[in-house]
């Protein structure tokens, strides 16, 4: 029962989702809308609770077992709890219209957007900004024209890189045009092949799940 019931639910709702596209009747569309806008939101809320519970459990166990990089788990949990408490007790911004979300607990007053703008935004920007340095270092050490194909890749990369900056057009008006041709023709052709392959793989996996051949999603190691 504990295996057949979830599988039955999956098949039922899976088929509902597919046939909804082929039944353009208003009453069916209303039913489909209710499933999408209400039922899926409730399921999404439960999934969020499960995800948060899992986050706490995983990091708690890492700290308890002193696993590799466990101090980072303390930072994760601390950040999670501090942000959650401030957010949960915070003003929803109603009637202020100034974009602030204040938390007032007794004499304590804090705007959660301070965490966003003073911590999250600079940390995110720093992480991404560092990529330029690593890319430059990696390009210097690893990007070698060791074969004809590698040389072709290198030339294409140079043209596309020049096409992405105004300097390319300043050197020659043909560079952005050639860059565009590379992106529109060989790039599109290869991407299409990959995308079609991925979608066919997804369809095959979906059919395997819906027919009960693939059951690993239910857990239990089968």
């Amino acid at each position: 029962m504990h295996r057949k019931f979830p599988l039955g639910l999956l098949i039922f709702f899976g088929i509902l989702g597919i046939i909804s596209i082929f039944i353009p009747h208003p009453s069916w569309e209303a039913f489909d809308g209710m499933l999408r806008n209400k039922v899926m939101l409730i399921i999404g809320a439960f999934a969020l609770i499960l995800a948060l519970g899992n986050l706490i459990r995983v990091h708690y166990l890492k700290i308890k077992r002193r696993a590799k990089h466990w101090p980072f788990s303390i930072v994760t949990l601390l950040s999670f709890f501090v942000t959650s408490i401030i957010g949960l007790f915070g003003d929803s911004g109603a009637n202020t219209m100034d974009g602030s979300f204040r938390t007032i607990i007794g004499t304590f007053e804090f705007d959660i957007m301070t965490i966003y703008f003073k911590i999250l935004v600079p940390l995110g920007a720093t992480m991404f900004a560092m990529l330029a340095f690593y890319m430059a270092s990696a390009a210097y050490r690893s990007f070698r024209a060791k074969s004809t194909l590698a040389a072709l890749l290198l030339i294409s990369a140079f043209i596309v890189m020049l096409g992405q900056i105004p300097v390319g057009a300043a050197i020659s008006k043909h560079i952005p045009a050639i860059s565009d041709i590379i992106m529109r023709i060989p790039n599109t052709a290869s991407k299409r092949g990959i995308e079609i392959g991925v979608v066919l793989g997804m369809l095959a996996t979906m059919l395997k799940i819906m027919t009960g051949i693939e059951r690993s999603w239910m857990g239990g190691g089968e």
Binding site: F133, F143, P166, P176
Partner: protein
């Protein structure tokens, strides 16, 4: 020349060179003309053709990491819409983007309101624009907006009731949207193609990072995207169009950043060339 030593160059030297190459053009920019590509022009034209009874839906789905590339696109399109009196509806599928959207919207509203002389010239929240906020998970809002936008987003980001807002009058679902423009550091433009365009027939445009633009070309070529802005250059092109075609002046962040990006691209190419010369010189020796 000792190529082997050069190839073993301390990476801190490379980091220092990159820091200078990126920072100096920010302080001393070298202005180069921006050429507008066809994919940017197509997006501009589609937005420009929005009828009076329609709105543009902006889905801002980027994190602070990609702000320098995507935020200027969002600002430019807001300027374009406000200058043409096009109604703007805004959502975000990523919670991390909500704060950036709010700040960007206020910045552009302040720009316009500082110049406004009448009520009609002013940009007013709820009358000309509404920020509908964030609702998870991402696919649900995309599908729900095909039925009833105000029914799904009952309150906006600032907890104001949406159904009674002037901006929402006559705007029910995707049928009243001229184009959805998704700014994304991930896959949200594709979700709009899969779930909003395929099912409800709405036009979709995209603003994506330079590193991911190659992934979106098949959708541009097939006509599923009505325009595509790629990276900081795409944003600079849109800034150019908004200033040239619409006559809106304002800070052009992407254009400012192009000097730095140009220098960084050239520096990386020079590194690759030196690395390859060194590789072939040392290989011959071996």
């Amino acid at each position: 020349m000792n190529w082997e030593r050069l190839l073993m160059l301390d990476r801190r030297v490379i980091f220092l060179i990159m820091a200078l190459v990126i920072a100096l053009p920010i302080i001393f920019p070298f202005g180069l003309p921006t050429q507008v590509t066809d994919r940017t022009q197509r997006l501009f034209d589609t937005i420009d053709a929005t009828r009076e009874d329609q709105a543009v839906l902006l889905s801002t789905d980027y994190t602070p990491q990609t702000e320098p590339e995507l935020h200027p696109m969002y600002i430019s399109i807001l300027r374009h819409c406000f200058a043409r009196n096009i109604k703007v509806l805004m959502v975000t599928l990523y919670i991390e983007a909500a704060g950036l959207m709010d700040v960007g919207l206020r910045e552009v509203m302040d720009e316009f309101n500082a110049r406004a002389t009448t009520h009609e010239d002013s940009i007013i929240m709820g009358e000309d624009v509404v920020f509908l906020g964030w609702k998870p998970p991402p696919i649900i809002p995309i599908l729900a907006m095909g039925q009833d936008i105000a029914g799904f987003y009952k309150q906006d980001f600032y907890n104001q009731e949406t159904a009674t807002m002037p901006v929402m009058q006559g705007i029910k679902n995707y049928r009243d949207i001229s184009i959805v423009v998704a700014f994304s550091s991930g896959s949200s433009p594709l979700w709009f193609v899969q779930f909003a365009q395929t099912r409800f027939g709405v036009k979709v445009g995209a603003g994506v990072t330079a590193v991911s633009v190659a992934d979106f070309y098949p959708y541009l070529e097939s006509g599923q995207f009505s325009g595509l802005l790629g990276g900081m250059k795409g944003a600079a092109e849109y800034e150019e169009l908004v200033e040239r075609e619409v006559g809106v002046q304002g800070r052009r962040r992407a254009t400012e950043g192009m000097s730095s990006q140009s220098a960084a691209h050239i520096a990386i190419m020079v590194f690759v060339i030196i690395g390859n010369i060194g590789y072939f010189a040392t290989r011959r020796k071996r």
